[in-house]
């Protein structure tokens, strides 16, 4: 069974926010909210500075604390691609999952239920790439089965140096950032 993940090349990402806009249009994300966002991280002292631009979203963790704490099973691991999804009809809006996510990837939708990146599962089922990946002008994002050694994501992870966000939180994220 596939284990879907995303690899983002921070050397190619220019922070244009096309991915953010594509996600909002594709998933009808309400104004003032976002499922994915851009982070710029600058380290060092002038003139010795290093900058990393990242497109961030739900990490669809292998060990998702949001799923563990959900009292109704609304937050669950979908068999297809082992992605973390939210069933709005089961969500009671207790917000435990929002507090449990170390990445701040979830938000309370104006309709009351909790929402977040779904890796565009509806597009994946139709054989397409997630909206953010499909519109990236620099092709810095790759998406696929992490367990398939022939997939683009697996090859990138095997050949390039990468990191994940907040490894100390112990959630085993599945969004990887190439350095």
């Amino acid at each position: 069974m596939a284990r879907l993940g995303m690899v983002i090349d921070t050397r190619k990402c220019i922070g244009c926010m096309d991915c953010v806009v594509a996600c909002q249009v594709e998933n009808d994300v309400p104004r003032g909210y976002c499922r994915d966002w851009i982070v710029s991280e600058v380290r060092g002292e002038f003139p010795h500075l290093a900058m990393e631009i990242r497109s961030e979203r739900c990490n669809h963790c292998d060990d998702p604390p949001c799923v563990d704490c959900c009292p109704t099973g609304a937050s669950h691991v979908e068999p297809l691609g082992k992605t973390v999804q939210v069933n709005p009809d089961r969500c009671i809006g207790c917000k435990a999952c929002v507090a449990a996510c170390p990445y701040g990837a979830r938000y309370v939708h104006p309709k009351g239920y909790v929402d977040k990146c779904s890796f565009c599962l509806h597009r994946v089922k139709a054989g397409k790439q997630p909206a953010c990946v499909s519109v990236c002008p620099t092709s810095c994002m790759s998406f696929g089965d992490l367990d398939d050694p022939k997939s683009a994501v697996a090859k990138l992870l095997a050949t390039r140096k990468w990191h994940t966000l907040l490894p100390g939180a112990g959630t085993k994220p599945r969004v990887f950032y190439l350095e």
Binding site: M17, V20, G32, Y33, C34, W37, I38, V39, S40, E41, V42, R43, G44, E45, E56, P65, D68, C69, C70, P71, T72, G73, A74, P88, D89, R90, C91, I92, G93, C94, K95, A96, V98, A99, A100, C101, P102, G104, R106, Y107, V108, K111, G112, Y113, L165, L166, P167, G168, A169, G170, T171
Partner: protein, 345 residues
């Protein structure tokens, strides 16, 4: 230097997590206090079953007070939900890894235990109900007919009380993303704080709520049952003193647990040390040290010790301070915990 700029500005999440407002601290406070009241009631019921203390005032009516407070706490929890019309989904499943899930089922058992316990002396608490609905009297008679049944109900109260008290702490403890809550001491701390608040609440109610024969009517009887939740007889002076003595013990243990929690977090990872720093140097420092530790624990211990030594007159001030401190503990930990987070390497 590390400078991070994010385009994300989701309400309740950015710039700092604040998904839980006043409702959750109120719910946790009432939950802890009810847990403590069930343990106290269970202990007194055991004495009643032994025949040691047939007039034990807080054994027979404390569950009714607990039932009233339980509804207030559950009301606060319901107000916090943002998808209220789907609340029924909690009782369609049992998620073993979610403390909130099994806690929801424990709360049902707590409701049942409180109602059964309230029926033990329903003829005194609400005579109209007992007359109009003979079934309530039959249940009451059945419960009190044998000491074994009363003892079973007593242990049920104690067991469920401990489970509820610990659950209110574990609820926060399991959220790994909030380092301030990543301590196993939260469960015992909230349980002991709940026991202390329960002793203070019963003590306060004994002194403040009037004790007189319950009115006979339907409406007046119902109001009296809720208001005179500790029965129609003024308690013996020894009962009040035993509550004060118990409270001093609970507060002393609470103080030790607070110290251990701070030490444990401060000596853990950088994220945990930074999180506990919120209680030393942030807007949460004054409420924590001023209201929780000083006014909520140290001052009540001192005053109650002086009262027990007959050095100062007996007042309700320590009990009121303990209750305020118990709420402040939950308020500070819920809010400071949300402000705590893991740090980028």
């Amino acid at each position: 230097m590390l400078e991070i700029t994010s385009s994300r500005l989701n309400p309740l999440v950015d710039p700092q997590l604040h998904v839980w407002g006043w409702e959750i601290p109120v719910y946790l406070f009432f939950g802890g206090m009810i847990a403590g009241m069930m343990v106290l009631a269970g202990q007194a019921m055991r004495r009643l079953a032994r025949g040691d203390d047939p007039e034990a005032f807080f054994s027979v009516q404390t569950p009714l007070l607990g039932f009233v407070l339980m509804n207030a706490g559950m009301g606060a929890l319901f107000l916090d939900l943002t998808h209220k019309t789907h609340v029924w989904a909690v009782y369609l499943t049992l998620q073993p890894l979610s403390p909130m899930s099994w806690g929801s089922w424990v709360l049902l058992a707590v409701y049942a235990a409180l109602l059964a316990s309230a029926l033990v002396r329903i003829d005194v608490a609400w005579p109209w109900l007992a007359r109009r609905f003979p079934l309530t009297m039959r249940i009451s008679d059945w419960l009190t007919a044998r000491a074994t049944r009363l003892r079973t109900l007593a242990w049920l109260n104690i067991g469920l009380g401990v489970a509820l008290g610990i659950y209110t702490g574990i609820l926060l403890n399991t959220m790994v993303a909030r380092p301030l809550w990543n301590t196993a001491l939260l469960g015992p701390l909230f349980l002991v704080s709940g026991l202390s608040a329960a002793a203070a609440m019963v003590h306060l109610a004994v002194r403040v709520l009037p004790g007189r024969p319950a009115p006979q009517g339907a409406a007046a009887g119902a109001l009296a049952a809720l208001w005179q939740t500790l029965g129609d007889r003024p308690p013996a002076a020894a009962a009040g003193l035993s509550l004060v003595r118990a409270d001093v013990g609970f507060l002393a243990v609470e103080l030790v647990l607070v110290a251990l929690m701070l030490a444990g977090l401060a000596t853990s990872t950088a994220a945990h040390a930074e999180a506990v720093g919120l209680l030393f140097a942030s807007p949460y420092a004054l409420p924590f040290w001023g209201f929780v530790v000083l006014l909520g624990i140290v001052v009540p211990i001192t005053l109650q010790a002086l009262e027990l030594g007959h050095r100062i007159p007996h007042t309700v001030l320590p009990a009121a301070l303990v209750l305020a401190g118990g709420f402040a503990l939950r308020w500070v930990l819920v809010n400071a915990g949300q402000a705590s987070h893991f740090i980028a390497p």
